[in-house]
């Protein structure tokens, strides 16, 4: 493509099919904790 560059694998849909195991870190998003914003977490799989 000349006009468009896709930066990532865009695989969110695939992750839904296989995800939900619950092994990854709980992700408090509040300012008091800095445990996590969801999207910067690692998947454990």
């Amino acid at each position: 493509m000349k006009h468009i560059k896709t930066l990532n694998k865009a695989n969110l849909k695939k992750t839904a099919a296989k995800g939900g195991c619950g092994e990854c870190q709980a992700s408090c998003q509040s300012a008091c904790k800095t445990s996590c914003t969801v999207a910067n977490q690692k998947c454990e799989k």
């Binding site: 865009a10 695989n11 709980a26």
Partner: protein, 424 residues
Amino acid sequence: MIHRYSLNGYNIVLDVHSGGIHIIDDITYEVLGLVSPPMSSICSQRILDALGNRYSNQQIIEAYSELYELFEQDLLFSKDDYEQFANQMVASPVKAMCLNIAHDCNLRCEYCFASTGDFGQGRRLMDFETGKAAVDFLLEHSKGRKNLEMDFFGGEPLMNFDVVKQIVEYARSKEKEYNKNFRFTITTNGLLLTEDKMDYINKQMSNVVLSLDGRKEINDKLRKRVDGTGCYDTIVLKYKQLVDKRGHDNYYVRGTFTKHNLDFSKDVQHLNELGFDQLSVEPVVGDPSKGFAISKNDLPRIFDEYENLAQQIIESKQQGKGFNFFHFMLDLDQGPCAIKRLRGCGCGNEYVAVTPDGDIYPCHQFVGMEEWKMGTVYEGKLDFAKKDRFSKAHVYEKEKCKDCWAKFYCSGGCNANNFPLANK
């Protein structure tokens, strides 16, 4: 659904439901602004007319065709078919716990959500018996989950560090038998750090959060000791030592910004100049009547400041320095699965907080609100009606979240902050 914006010379398109991120050129950006789904394979006359004074038909059609190609591949305006997964993880085991090991603190930060440490419940320390019961509770209620998290929180956890150590040792002694892997974290204001404590933390804790707001005058204005003196000079040295000993890995220096420092990018920069490279500085949450509170009118200024910060990070990366700013970190390929993203924190469902007396609350922010109490670690029971309610707090249940482009990045935000605002 898509989200399209331009920043720092890039036109960026997020295709919300595939997670695709595309960089597009100017003409394509303009064409996309005129397109709505479902796309047809032929570029409409309306689009040609609208852009005809600046681009040739051939140019417009070429850009349109590339967009159409993405659409065909389900990478643009891709369908929202996630609601079917919303009930997965409803019956999750409890696998993460915040232990409020000390409802007491040696600082009197003005913006403290825990009423300067005691959560409005009187100053108290957790004893080992209660900590042990909490570990037992987690071992049992985590069922098949292997990775368990325990965060030592307060108040100030270093005020009760002997009990922290006892709890860590007890939990470790059970890992094999129960086939679990404990990950401990601690959040501290640093005042009581000693070399021994640093070594223990660095050995046992998978992450450590070190509170510091930035520039000395900013930090010391709100983060004060009981006698009113600021804590900056004492803690900076200790944090440096701890982080050096830790090999600069798995830690955060975290600050809070308030109305007093809406130019918080300077504080981030300052923390970096001190030698820290894992940084998090976040907006204060609290009583709107307080002088430090951020109001809606401050938002445009804050948005600009985040953009300034992004620019600073780019520049420092170009000079081969750079640092991580927590809220800018996104793993575009290997982030959490869509199911995890539907409900974020998991409070009251996968995650609970325990007070020094052993009472269980949905999370540390609910502590002290009697109506939210979910049980005690001694009884070993949990209020499943409450758990169920939290487990269903996902983005497809919240009208505004459902149709928001950021839903898979914010996951509906913080329940504790949302409840007071709900139905308003």
